[in-house]
Amino acid sequence: MATNDTLTVALKGRIDSGNAADIEKEIQAQIDAVDAGSLILDAEELEYISSAGLRVILRLRKKYPDLRVINVNSEVYEIFDMTGFNQMMKVEKAYKVVSVEGCEEIGKGANGTIYRIDKDNVVKVYNNADALEDIEHEREVARLALILGIPTAISYDVVKVGDSYGSVFEFLNARSFAKILADEPEKFEWCAEEYVEMLKKIHGTEVPEGKLPSIKSEFVERAGRLKEHLPAEYSEKLIRLMNDIPEVNRMIHGDYHTKNLELQDDEVLLIDMDTLAVGHPVFELGSIFNAFIGFFEVDTDGIESFQGFSAETGRRLWRRVLELYLGTKDEDAIRDVEDKARIIGYTRLIARSVKRGLNLEGQGKAEYEIWRKNLMELLDRTETLAFDPDQSVNGSDPNELDIEAITENLPKVLEFIDSKLEAVGCPLKTQMQIDVAAEEIFVNIANYAYSPDKGMAKVRVEVGDDPLHVSITFIDHGVPYDPLAKEDPNVNLSAEERQIGGLGIFLVKNTMDDLTYEYINGSNILTLKKNL
């Protein structure tokens, strides 16, 4: 017997012991006439159903285990609910019908249009007519996010709008971060900080198992889709790198760009939750890279119509987000994570083009070529896609301090060093000598390393044995400079003859037990060692 299409049968009026047998015969006749493969009962006009009617549905379900009853009004739904029918089969409530005719259109996104239906409410009408599952999914994950502490807007009703479905939200007098950046460029730093704070909050959220899909499996699949588009060794490496990313249960938004972050009064809200997943934060960084740079690498003006700000702002934002997220201005550290994020980003972009039927003409061709070329270059120099997410989410190595090299930060540097020295019971006098030396080195970096610009310094404190000693390492990426090479001042001269300079380094040399300076890969590395 050939399996045919789904048959939808309308149930009308009252079904009770008086007419149940007739109705069953009638339905059976319709089924036989079309040789239906599956069955849907449309209860839109059903007013009442008794146990005799329910038994008819039970018998139909034996033949059609995936039987669905749809458009059930609330009185009838109560009967299904009380008798436990809605646990046995799919019983779908009727949705309230809403008209958007004459309503103000207040926004348009990739998957729907937002209308204001009255003073307090908006409805997001989905383009896709069978969006019901997506809508329910988004409501569910948004609720989950809210429970886990992520501020978001939740739709409180699903309605029918013409042939489509819509989600009803409270009307928010909110502005997206994209709009703030476009209208008030002076708020750039504030936007970047808030944006990263929310990002860390998302990634710091652990999600109970099974609640959200894994983003890694999507990317393993995407990497597979690139097989015919990369030389074999690159394709294999990409698949291996993807597979090697550890599964972690951190929340990932999946589409975290500046239109999905809104400011309402003083509260920052995350919206568009349908892509919520769990996984390693590198996947998120990949999609952020795409939103600000990757998508627009050829069509550089495209970002203007999407986000409302320029490609240059997009690049600056990406850079600042990385610095703030990673808590460093260290070029190498940022470059390393950026490389990983770009591999994720390009994999997604190429896989997306492939899925949409590769267009190898004009812009499509140029994009495909540049993304592919960049991806291969990145694969040449990358051996792992994971990084330690705790470093950004929970703070960095406790023995290291990354700090902007400005003299105003000196108290912070000494406080950091002193806290480590106190922990090992360093005598006060030694502590002062170490501080004097550390001050000298740090102030030197602040004044000269990046002059006239500013840059970062890293301070690392280590304690070692045999004999008990402490080493303090200063790393900067400024101009190569060996302070130890400076000539010592003549300490036997009178005040009039003494020069102001050179004193500090002299002090350092005479109070520390060992000093080393190296210039490696663009970094000045100076280590002070003092025996305790």
Partner: protein, 99 residues
């Protein structure tokens, strides 16, 4: 942080330092001192509560010493051990008058 307490008595200025004399606080001390030295012939610095001195602080002391050499005397009193050690290493014990 550095607290500077000045007490001018005729041509004699007594300056008590409390806290840290480092890169951050030295400029303020230098300005403070420069503005008060005009009619001073005797400068006394009380270092009893000075906990810390770095090369930036030493530079200010050196400048003050040079300027006082032109017109009078300067001496440091109540210098504690750790600060004295710094004066020792740098040869400042020979330049400054320390009681």
């Amino acid at each position: 942080m550095l607290n500077i307490n000045k007490n001018l008595d005729g041509e004699k200025l007594m300056v008590a330092l409390e806290g840290r004399l480092d890169t951050v606080t030295a400029p303020e001390f230098e300005t403070e001192l420069k503005d008060s030295l005009d009619a001073v012939t005797e400068l006394i610095m009380d270092m009893k509560d000075l906990e810390y001195i770095s090369s930036a602080g030493l530079r200010v002391l050196l400048t003050a010493q040079k300027s006082m050499n032109q017109k009078g005397t300067m001496k440091l009193i109540n210098v504690n051990d750790t600060v004295m050690e710094i004066f020792d290493v740098t040869g400042f014990v020979d330049i400054l008058t320390i009681e």
